[in-house]
Assembly symmetry: C2
């Protein structure tokens, strides 16, 4: 049916899945890594860097912004993007919690 049955899952499961989904595209990983290196950038730089068309980059930026991973600030006629520190730390904590829940065991098959 192509529609996710969100109501079957907890809020935290849906939230983590939503973040992971946004991270689930190489262009968006590349954008994040670029921002981690350069601290900030404008859309045009990413177009040059990644080799995707401007509307495509713009769309990926919108999705990253949608979940709060990045922030965009209007500066004259360009928009300056950067990592949102608070959200970044929050996401890191969520993933850490997931990974930390693993305890090696011998009940495995």
């Amino acid at each position: 049916m192509g529609i996710t049955k969100t109501q079957l899952f907890t809020e935290s499961q849906n939230e983590l899945a939503t973040i992971a989904k946004v991270l689930g595209h190489p262009a968006r990983i590349a954008i994040i890594q670029y921002l981690l290196r350069q601290d900030q950038c404008i859309c045009g730089h990413l177009v040059d860097e990644l080799g995707l068309a401007q509307p495509t980059i713009s769309q990926h930026l919108k999705e990253l912004k949608g979940v709060g991973i990045i922030r965009g600030t209007i500066e004259g006629n360009s928009v300056c993007y950067c990592i949102n520190p608070d959200k970044w730390n929050e996401i890191q904590a969520q993933f850490s919690e997931l990974f930390a829940a693993y305890r090696p065991n011998n009940n495995c098959c």
Copy 2:
């Protein structure tokens, strides 16, 4: 066009995105969390637990297995699933590396 331009990105970017994509569905997060709690389970248990149809659960398990996050062992007429420790640690390391790359800065806008 609905096809990801994989060749524009590095192998590690594609790999991380692929993992994140698989984690990007609440049912698969729920399956993983269930396995983290219970160490192991069979498909039928997840059907009862999550409230999705058996073919749907089976499909999600297939995707998790596809990237190596879980393992499935045939036991009689059922299949026992569990977290793949090596892959789990590998994925954890990949995400840790991504998050660790962030350095707070004042160049942000």
